[in-house]
């Protein structure tokens, strides 16, 4: 029985596809592996948000591998002092050299890690400097308030450079191949075994020094693709915790009186939205976009697709503050929508296609069907296109879908961060609407480096207002991170990367 109390059985829809978060094509569960098997220099603080649920605190940074750190007086560099007793899983000590190698690697691997580092203005290897074995310095390119937070995200994991170098080759200087299937970290958990597509088993690293020793000795994380099965497993007590169920299941389990409880935390900095491609007629016409924003059956969607597991991002009363995400002022008003359509010259309606990612079908499908039904009132004939996951990214990159229902979130909880990627005229992949607005661009760029809170609030309100008036994307709901677990599981913490953190979990 003790063994059971120290073992956590997790079921998720699908597991990691590799063990290296820097790897080409690493999926989201791989972030979770990185989070547990590797340490970072710093981590975020935690705060209780009631109901025995914790959330990370993005305003607070706390030590992990670094005991402490100090920002230089000019504000252009930060010096980290590493824990002297920290060890990697193979027993070798953690040194500044490892840190440098790791951060260099994040820049050198290209793709997602590089992109994420760049978000914190970490762009060049020269920025990373080994001072001595246990002292490490990061030089800043500019005074970016996101630099330090960005060193606490999963991408900034610290690798065992000595071990990894043994597996590096000339073509593969970063040992990418080896690290795909092996870990070289010093995190709280070791990967005891991994069978891709089946399960990953973690075992506690008893020598872990970067925080209080976790209570769970062993975590078995199985892939169970069928949500129904996961729910059954949980209800019957065969697993301890599971995620990513249809909202309806969470809604029901939260109501049920059984042995299951549901923790839910609104996911920061993210939203479900209906994107309208501003490069495709008639969505290049703001009136049409507004008409659609008025025609969406918000309440129906909340009730029948989200089962209330989401924060409404509609029906607000205008942009009053800089909080993010916040509600738009739109609410379902077909007459107004008709009026706008008439003004735009589309009284007769038109035909278009609404796409969504098959992987999100549990929410997207009912939503799009409701949208389709509702837009029919404006004479808009919508064909629904389910795009399998593999095609989704290709399609998004191409930006040729006229309408899409999608979810977007950012790790670093700043509105300008979100807007930079999702609305800015640089036209990043996430600007799925190909939206261009010079004025908005200016406001977003300014906000990033604005240190005066008052001015900052003004800038933020400014770009939110533009985005909500022009509505290239119509926010629908802020997703909620739901987790269902046995009542004897405690200590759940919400993290921005949405992956479970077993270090704080315990069974009682």
């Amino acid at each position: 029985q003790d063994k059971r109390l120290e073992t956590l059985v997790v079921a998720n829809e699908f597991g990691p596809n590799m063990l290296d978060i820097h790897g080409l094509g690493a999926n989201r569960p791989a972030y979770g592996v990185s989070w547990l098997a590797y340490d970072r220099l710093m981590t975020y603080g935690r705060k209780s948000i009631g109901d025995g649920v914790d959330s990370y605190d993005f305003t607070k940074l706390e030590p992990e591998l670094a005991e402490r750190w100090e920002v230089a007086a000019d504000g252009m560099s930060v010096t980290f002092h590493l824990r002297k007793d920290a060890k990697f899983h193979d027993g070798s000590p953690v040194t500044a050299d490892d840190v440098k190698w790791s951060l260099d690697r994040a820049l050198g691997m290209g793709g997602f890690p590089t992109f994420q580092m760049k978000a914190g203005s970490l762009e060049k290897p020269e920025q990373f400097e080994v001072v001595d074995a246990h002292t490490f310095r990061v030089k800043l390119l500019r005074k970016d308030k996101m630099t330090l937070p960005d060193l606490a995200v999963p991408v900034a994991a610290i690798y065992n450079a000595k071990l990894a170098r043994q597996h590096a080759t000339a073509e593969d200087p970063w040992a990418a191949n080896w690290l795909k299937t092996n870990t070289a970290g010093g995190g709280a958990y070791k990967v005891a075994s991994w069978k891709p597509g089946q399960e990953i088993v973690y075992e506690r690293f008893d020598d872990w020094k970067s925080g209080p020793l976790p209570k769970l000795k062993r975590v078995i994380q199985r892939d169970v693709p069928s949500a129904g099965n996961r729910r059954a497993l949980l209800t019957r007590g065969d697993i301890d915790i599971t995620f990513e169920m249809p909202p309806k299941d969470f809604a029901e389990m939260a109501q049920e009186k059984g042995n299951v409880k549901v923790a839910s935390v609104p996911a920061e900095n993210s939203m479900w939205y209906l994107g309208l491609n501003t490069k495709v007629a008639p969505f290049d016409n703001p009136k049409v976009r507004q008409a659609i924003a008025y025609a969406l059956p918000y309440d129906k969607i909340m009730q029948n697709a989200f089962y209330g597991r989401g924060m409404p991002l509609f029906g607000g009363s205008g942009v009053k503050d800089a909080s993010w995400p916040q509600a738009t002022a739109y609410k379902t008003d077909i007459d107004k929508a008709r009026q706008l359509m008439k003004e735009a010259g589309f009284e007769q309606g038109f035909e278009t296609t609404l796409s969504f990612d098959l992987g999100t079908a549990t929410v997207s499908e009912p939503t799009t069907i409701l949208i389709q039904e509702s837009l029919a009132q404006l004479g808009i004939k919508v064909a629904i296109n389910k795009v399998p996951g593999s095609n989704w990214r290709a399609a998004i990159t191409k930006k040729d879908m006229p309408m899409l229902f999608n979810r977007m979130g950012g790790w670093l909880n700043y509105p300008e961060y979100f807007f930079f990627w999702a609305y800015h005229g640089q036209n990043a992949v996430f600007n799925t609407m190909s939206y261009q607005n010079a004025e908005l661009d200016k406001l977003v760029e300014a906000a990033r480096f604005e240190s005066d809170p008052k001015k900052y609030e003004g800038l933020v309100k400014g770009f939110i207002d533009i985005a909500y008036t022009e509505v290239p994307r119509i926010p629908v709901a802020q997703p909620v991170m739901d987790v269902a677990m046995q009542k004897n599981v405690h200590g759940f913490t919400y993290w921005f990367h949405l992956q479970p953190d077993y270090r704080q979990l315990y069974k009682q």
Binding site: G228, N229, N304, P366, I369, A383, P388
Partner: protein
């Protein structure tokens, strides 16, 4: 022309019809399952034809007020997550599902049947090539091939039909080829040649009409299989697009509600799907009864 084609020979029809009617009655009478399947078949055809008029509700209209309501007098099969009437959706889906099955089977029947008949009759390189083609298709795990085709070409109804037709092709090819080969040497074929029939005439007027019965059995069995196939594709998300009602999708959607106790969402479409396949399978058996009572299965 008229006399060469038995289907057009109305003069002889009464005797034959009467006889077949008699056999049919016998087969049905002796085997209750055949009677059931025949009844079901008629039912499904009627549903497919008149579904839109029979459905009590608008199958596409959502009723947010009554989502997931269990079967009741108003909604015999209950409603789904969007409050849509499942009975109506099941009824409407009949046309699409049967349509897919019929189209796919017709396609593979015509192409596979002709290829097989030619291969069986003329032999030679065409035989070798078409046998290779069918071997190649058979060497695939068939469902995976269908998945691949739909995934590659896009999940439209046309592509589902195409994929289903392709994986069914070898069966028709083989049946037609084997049956033609058996009969190629039959006395009546030789006799037809002596009567001055050219090769193509022999094939089309004498052989093909005679291999139709075994092909019919194959058709009926394949219909069921085609429906299952389309449903399977829907289940893994490669099926028909929403909000089109299709049995497979409805089951797949309903599957996630089973555990939470909303069994009706998956159960009714699943049952109807099963009934349809069941009916076609039994029908195939009964056809076989009609054709060859002794080898009945």
């Amino acid at each position: 022309m008229n006399t060469a084609n038995p289907a057009l020979a109305t003069r002889a029809a009464p005797g034959r019809l009467a006889r077949q009617w008699h056999t049919l009655r016998y087969v049905v009478g002796e085997n209750p399952l055949s009677a059931i399947s025949a009844g079901l078949f008629v039912g499904f055809v009627l549903l497919a034809l008149f579904g839109p008029w029979l459905a009590p509700h608008d199958p596409l209209a959502s009723h947010v007020g009554e989502p997931l309501s269990p079967p009741s007098m108003a909604h015999w099969f209950g409603t789904d997550a969007l409050g849509r009437d499942i009975l109506s959706r099941v009824i409407i889906a009949t046309r699409l599902d049967l349509g897919i099955a019929v189209a796919a089977v017709a396609l593979s029947f015509v192409i596979g049947g002709l290829m097989g008949a030619f291969a069986g009759y003329f032999g030679g390189w065409f035989d070798r090539v078409s046998t290779r083609v069918s071997d190649t298709i058979m060497a695939f795990p068939l469902f995976v091939l269908a998945m691949g085709i739909v995934a590659a070409l896009g999940n439209t109804v046309a592509n589902i039909v195409l994929a289903t037709a392709i994986i069914n092709l070898p069966f028709y090819l083989r049946v037609a080829r084997a049956e033609v080969r058996v009969r190629r040497e039959a006395g009546f074929v030789e006799a037809a040649r002596l009567a001055g029939n050219g090769e193509l005439r022999v094939l089309f007027y004498h052989l093909i009409p005679n291999v139709m019965p075994p092909m019919m059995v194959q058709i009926s069995l394949n219909m069921g299989w085609a429906i299952l196939n389309a449903a399977g594709l829907s289940f893994i998300g490669l099926g028909v697009r929403p909000p089109e009602a299709e049995w497979g999708i409805m089951v797949a959607e309903g599957a996630q509600y089973i555990v939470s106790g909303e069994w009706w969402i998956a159960l009714f479409p699943g049952l109807v799907l099963m009934l349809a396949v069941f009916c076609f399978n039994l029908l195939g058996d009964s056809l076989r009864d009609l054709i060859d009572p002794r080898r009945r299965t």
